[in-house]
């Protein structure tokens, strides 16, 4: 990788990863007047700079959990804090990447990334510099002026990651970010994300349905169960980063996790 570029990138990052603390978090929706419990009694602590993966069957509320942490959903019961500050609404301290890239189709890649800096006090030139840095970070050089419809799924998702990271959030949330990509692209994107995380050292929480992906990237994997969504099981991935995809230890852990997940399926 290009060492001198990385140096410059690191020089301009002056943020610190955040610590997330969730206590007794519950959330319900009203469905035809009937309360539907989506999440019940979630307790979760994430250390600064940690990478946590969340897996679980569909409908276990893992996406709702991320949306709550991002501040996109309100009225929950319980307590959520990032570095001791209660989470009430969206904030530039918490970034999120969705399964669909959610780039604005009428803006170019560079403009899409720059939109995240609307609230920033930086000057025009500083913003342009920062955008260029992040385009390099996700290897999209040469596509600054491309429109989203001209990008492949993987490239669009890289742009989305750059947009989420440019505000230098203390916490980055990833909601099945590679779910819509083909298998080969997904593998290369996982490697990219690992590199970005090692460089960037944000706290990251990723929701996925891919157990291998969860293990490859996560310091810790959390298994969630459905109806109501709750944390069922937790596993530490005691391997240093960057990891070897086919490490025997990962295989062992995968077997354990799959058994857990199959168990939660059998409950239905």
């Amino acid at each position: 990788m290009n060492a001198s570029l990385d140096q410059r990138w690191l020089a301009s990052t002056s943020h610190s990863p955040g610590a997330l603390q969730i206590r007794e978090l519950s959330k319900h929706y009203l469905l035809d007047g009937q309360p539907m419990e989506v999440l019940k009694g979630i307790d979760l602590r994430v250390k600064p700079g940690e990478f946590v993966s969340i897996v679980g069957a569909s409908g276990c509320g893992k996406s709702s959990l991320l949306r709550l942490i991002a501040g996109l959903e309100s009225d929950y019961s319980g307590d959520m804090q990032l570095d001791g500050k209660a989470i009430t609404t969206t904030s530039l301290e918490r970034g999120i990447v969705f399964q669909d890239h959610r780039l604005f189709p009428w803006k170019t890649v560079a403009q899409n990334i720059a939109i995240a800096l609307k609230r920033s006090p930086l000057t025009r030139q500083e913003k342009a510099l920062r955008v260029a840095e992040h385009i390099r970070l996700v290897n999209l050089q040469g596509f600054e002026n491309a429109y989203p419809h001209q990008l492949s799924g993987g490239m669009a998702q890289r742009a989305a990651i750059a947009r989420a990271l440019i505000t230098q959030p203390k916490l980055l949330l990833l909601d099945e970010p590679f779910g819509a990509l083909d298998a080969l692209t997904r593998i290369s994107m996982q490697r990219e994300l690992q590199r970005i995380w090692v460089q960037h050292r944000s706290t990251m929480i990723m929701v996925t349905h891919d157990v291998e992906e969860a293990l490859y990237l996560g310091d810790r994997v959390i298994v969630m169960d459905a109806r109501p969504g709750r944390i069922k099981y937790e596993i530490d991935v005691d391997l240093p980063h960057p990891r070897e995809r086919h490490a025997p230890r990962l295989q062992e852990l995968k077997e354990i996790l799959l058994t857990e997940l199959a168990g939660s399926d059998a409950d239905k």
């Binding site: 996109l72 530039l92 995240a116």
Partner: protein
């Protein structure tokens, strides 16, 4: 060698294409020829079926005397003032209707009732209220533009996916930026279509109003021609109206294609 061969084939194909494109002209030319022949046969009085050549002469006369351009200028000026008024009003009202619950609750029912009233039917009423001067024509155009633009704007904004608004919330976009960077670009394609529909309707209504009550403009020129049984003047006027309508519509279509290149769908 190969490249010259393919170049020859290529040019032959394009010549063939050009020849094929010419076939589109067959029926208009046939029509013109029939018209000329029937007119020359003398079965009908020249006052009713005037030879195409005479229409062409009248066209040149009217063009050189400045009458045609003056009429077009009067009509277009009315169209432009009414269009600007109606389009900006429609844009603001449509946005308010889509973005504010209050505006919707109080104004939507009346808006949807009023937009049922055809502009043409309002001509007698507007004449009584505003007289036959400029106000009546400009306001008629304003009305014809306002409703389609307001409707397109409000529906265009309402159709914006929630995910776009969520992104705006995530990056805490200020209100002006939410409007400028998200709402208007997202709703721009339907809004431009609304503008196009409004312009077409406005042009039709304006011509109608000028036919009924005007002392200037293309419609008045046609009406004068009719009263003096100058069918050549009427035809020149009708053709000019058609041409102006066509040019206005095509330029907005061109603008649509230009502006929304980001929309290009992958085949």
């Amino acid at each position: 060698m190969i490249s010259t061969a393919s170049a020859v084939i290529g040019s032959r194909v394009s010549v063939g294409h050009r020849m094929l494109a010419l076939t589109w002209l067959i029926s208009p030319l046939l029509l013109l020829a029939t018209w000329a022949l029937v007119a020359a046969s003398g079965h009908y009085s020249a006052q009713l079926l005037i030879p195409p050549a005479d229409v062409w002469h009248t066209f040149k006369d009217l063009l050189h005397s400045g009458e045609l351009l003056e009429g077009a200028a009067f009509s277009l000026r009315r169209l432009a003032s009414g269009f600007v008024l109606g389009a900006s009003g429609g844009l603001l009202f449509g946005a308010a209707l889509a973005l504010s619950k209050t505006v919707e609750v109080y104004c939507a029912p009346m808006f949807h009732v009023l937009r049922q009233v055809p502009s043409i039917a309002l001509i007698p009423m507007f004449i009584l209220v505003f007289g036959v001067e400029e106000t009546f024509k400009v306001l008629l155009v304003t009305k014809a533009v306002f409703f389609p633009v307001a409707l397109a704007t409000s529906e265009g904004i309402k159709a914006i996916p929630r995910s776009h608004f969520e992104v705006a919330r995530l990056y805490r976009l200020p209100r002006y930026s939410l409007l400028l960077d998200v709402v208007f670009p997202a709703a721009a394609p339907p809004i431009l279509t609304g503008l196009r529909v409004g312009l077409t309707r406005a042009w039709m209504v304006l011509v109608a109003a000028e036919l009924l009550a005007a002392d200037s403009g293309l419609g008045q020129m046609i009406e004068m021609g009719r009263q003096m049984m100058r069918i050549d003047v009427v035809m020149v006027g009708v053709i000019t109206i058609g041409l102006i309508g066509f040019v206005l519509d095509s330029s907005l279509r061109l603008l649509e294609r230009r502006l929304f290149r980001w929309k290009a769908i992958k085949e």
